[in-house]
Symmetry: D2
Subunit: 361 residues, 4 copies
């Protein structure tokens, strides 16, 4: 058996907990260190998960020679610099979505990792979500004929991390936060054909007091093969996370619902601990999920990435894929401003997607 | 009790059967005559439904002094001339969707009926569909807060009437055929605020051998009050009719499904008579509906229109509403060609919506 | 057109409101009078529904020569005497379930109506519930093959009328109140073959403080043709009415759910007026029904009974059917005491079913 | 890290494949050998799964000193002798359900394993099914209040192994094959309180040409704490496996469906490879599952048993539990003959449960 892959976690919030729990289910991985700048966070995180090393400066984590691979859950505006530093330190990188804030940074990250001979892996867990993996098998098997329309949607009542309200740090609102899932989902599901055009309808409909970013969006992609894809995203949907997909084809159709179609339908007069992400109250009717990380595919995703590092395999989702998603995000924000379908490829020097929707004056 | 309203049916196809069955459930109505130009059709229709009079020429039907009101299920390109003739004959008109082929015709129809003092009623049955009526009550009661996104979708595997494949007669494809339902649904659900813009994505993805009209469409409306509406329409969806709506608001969300969420979930090894419109085979799993006309709201709709005539009330859906839908349809086809959001009000002299998507050369 | 049937309502509680609302949707009926002993109730009921006559003594209602038919929603222990009086007055009778308290009374009621030449109609609305009517059509059409197992279940959190807690008046608990629905449902669905045996499991699991009647029950019927039927009944199920059926056959299976499979799935942060019978709170997720009376089949049922009177037709559900249900109820309570399957036909002089489960000492 | 647990598989049919696939997902286990008497079966099985050793005689497998634990998927009538031999060889035993054919054998197996100091583990995977594990957590957390009624049901169209049609080898029909799942599910869900009584309704409704065993059954258990449990089992249900549970309590209710509520709802005009166990055709509508072993809990179950062996922990489900289930099965068949509720504890010298229903003449 090959030696275990030692992993460094950068970040200590929501997604970093999920990554760590998932890595613990992966026999080939060992979580070796965690870094988070807020005083005390890394220490508490390490204590909770039994991680031997913790730092407030991620440079110290990268300096550990034992670390093979890092998994980054930091704010979007730090993705580029962390990747460059990790590449310089010879560490493989698993980067949480979205890849980074702009296309120039994406190119820099991809270039640096390539030059350093480390893998840049893009953490799009929908490509590992078991129900969606089966959905792709159905499509690939011909069960649905040639695809015509493909849909994916994520909706809840607002971002986990408060820095996401600040578009300077996040680069954009719900499209940037959750639309990026749908975009890579579409590319993966269809075998990554070229994208011809993007149209987006965005609005700040409920959270104007908190952000100037978009809190609701509809995004339409046309692929070069004629398939149309529709993403629906919302930060204003109450009642718990909603994550659904549909594939329509010339010979059939399939519907997949990760929550209401998967959960235990429950009525509780007095409520209980936890139903699902963003569920609000658990009194009355609710839809509790089970094995939540597994149902989203997080352990499977990280097991795959660990395997890529351990056995030098190409990752299913790479930095190039993350860049392709980012290009679509920029095109989507451009479309939201102009009210036009934007053709791809799309070039832009914009620093962040949001700037194309609401240019700084 | 007021005297019964005598009704003339113009048309003998799919929808005219539904209208007649529905009128028979309406105590205040009596189906008195039917007209259809194809030799034998009106006779067979009259025999089947026990209607006393039948004609091949609708002018003869309009000449009957007993007839109070006509219900028109003829091809789209005949809607205008029938309405003008009915107005001249002093008959109230219930016009099947879409109202007619172009805005000039719509204005002529509205003007003629107004001048003649007869009602022009627009047969949008979704405004009477019981599940959707309850959905509107939920929204109006404040259960969902302020609306943000509203969705409606109809999908099946192709039009009932073959003339719909010919865009010269139908005026357009699935957007014209089924998109018009969604547009009036949105207007009605929201209390008919002004529409600010329309964007449409159309394609002929499966039925290129049969039509140059659109067989799949996504349509996005922005209302003046900021609400976004999304219509999904398809003529390529197998497995039976799909008719669904969602209302998302700042305080809640509601999902209504007329078929899978309403039907009897059934497995039959050998199949049976009928599951639902366009179901294809009934072997294996299927979703049979029950009281199909009632579940769509046809009898309720026609009872309302009969009541409008009997007691001189304004109809819930009028010729003006039909015209407003038509304006959106023109804007949608314009958007499909230009790839741009089209602002409303939208003026056009085009003869039919399809011409704006694929202009004649 | 035949003359309208004038109807007298006896009772002013939950079910009498439903009966009256339903009769108003029936063109051939006119609600002419209401009687209820509690001072003020009949007056308020008449005012609410626009009924011309109201009485505290039902004998006065029966004395009205105009009344053709009565619809009884009174407590179970009054069913017999009201029917005898109505027969003596020459009025047709629609009797709410269960028919009465014991078999001797049932025989008396049937005999009196037969002798007086009036119809005794048994108000089992499940035989008119549109979804169940379609379910029966599926079975009858052969879609499911030969039936093997048939299930029906009604569950909510307790009876509408408080007198139902008193087994002396009601004759029994949830089996008497709701099990009677399932029993007639089974008979009707299968074409009323003889019943071979009955087994019942009963308990007072939650409401011991309110009643000595059963609040939860499982009842198994064996029909002479080998089909097994399973009824589940509960007065302790929170979260709103649950009314479901399944038919399993040698060639297929069908599932029908009147509520969760029919409703609008809704999340409301602040709640709204009404979701469904016994729903409790409407905050959070709920399943609002629509056209509730129609979905249960009440107007269809009463239209049928009015038609039976108007045109002298045999009712779909008669006093004899009500008696057959009562026989099964007695056998069920006998089984609950003995822990044995009880063979039918079952003779008993017991005054009420409950007495067989918990004999008076 | 402790050394890996080497596992021997006894059997080469349906369930042995599932066991082997599941063990491969378990880092601490290594499948080391397989034994199956049919010539060629063990060889093919070993080749397919990459297992180093294969035998036609399980005694040879037991003779391997490296083997720590066996997992038995052999016919029911061999369970006892295999366990006795394994105990004598000092191997831990995972025994597929039902434990064995009669109570005397069960006592012998338990005694032999205890004396030999090896673990006897009972492979009831429902205790590891993720959705049911979450359901138990909901109940244990108080979300549903005190339990009143608990239901579990498994239905498909007939046993995988043909020897199950022969009651001499299987010991009984669908109650023996699938009812045993429900019985242990109830015990586990409720914390294994004593069972007070058992009532069973059995019939051979469809497969009389193949078996004299029961192919449909309803089983009612009363627990000492007053909770009632209802098991529904069928070997005649078409359209794919159905596996569902409900827990009703004084404060709430929860519904869990492993298939229709978990699957991807799919329509395929031409069909595809596999939807779900016993699905029949995949043309038209179907409900494909994904990660089927995981969704049932097989890998989790075997990981647990491997952990019990590796770290000397008590198994969640033991031979004693398997015996308790068997006692209920005997009582159920007794009840099916007598038409009476059978009180527990129940003693019997019967050789197999079926003999109590249809005694040999």
């Amino acid at each position: 058996m090959s030696k275990k892959i030692k992993v460094g976690i950068i970040g200590s919030q929501f997604i970093s907990h999920i990554h760590t729990i998932s890595l613990k289910r992966c026999a080939a991985a060992e979580v070796f260190a965690v870094a988070s700048p807020t005083p005390g966070n890394a220490r508490a995180f390490a204590a909770k998960h039994g991680i031997p090393h913790h730092f407030t400066d991620y440079a110290q984590l990268l300096a550990l020679s034992e670390v093979d691979m890092i998994v980054v859950g930091a704010p979007n505006d730090l993705h580029c610099q962390i990747t460059l530093a990790a590449a310089a330190a010879g560490k493989h990188v698993v980067m949480e979505k979205p890849l980074c804030l702009n296309l120039a940074d994406a190119d820099r990250m991809i270039g640096a990792c390539r030059k350093a001979g480390v893998k840049l892996m893009y953490a799009e867990e929908l490509c590992f979500t078991p129900k969606y993996v089966r959905l792709k098998q159905l499509l690939d098997s011909g069960a649905l004929g040639a695809p015509t329309l493909i849909k994916q949607s994520e909706k809840h009542d607002g971002p986990h991390a408060t820095h996401f309200w600040d578009v300077n740090r996040s680069g954009g609102g719900v499209t940037m936060d959750m639309g990026c899932h749908a975009i890579e989902f579409f590319r993966w599901m269809l075998g990554r054909p070229p994208i011809k055009s993007v149209y987006a309808q965005m609005g700040t409909l409920v959270h104007k007091d908190k952000t100037e970013g978009d809190d609701n969006a509809l995004i339409i992609l046309e692929f070069a093969n004629g398939v149309v894809a529709l993403a629906e995203e919302s930060w204003t949907k109450l009642g718990g996370m909603d994550d659904r997909a549909e594939v329509h084809g010339s010979k059939g159709v399939a519907y997949a619902d990760l929550h209401h179609g998967n959960a235990i339908e429950t009525y509780s007069a007095e409520g209980y601990d936890y139903a699902v992400e963003k569920a609000g109250s658990t009194k009355g009717w609710s839809f509790p999920v089970y094995e939540e990380e597994w149902n989203y595919g997080f352990p499977q995703e990280l097991e795959h990435f660990v395997d890529c590092v351990q056995n030098d395999k190409p990752p299913l989702v790479s930095g190039e894929d993350g860049r392709a998603v980012l290009e679509v995000l920029f095109a989507a924000y451009e479309s939201a401003r102009t009210g036009r379908k934007v053709e791809l490829p799309f070039q832009t020097d914009a620093k962040r997607p949001h700037d194309l929707w609401k240019p700084k004056r």
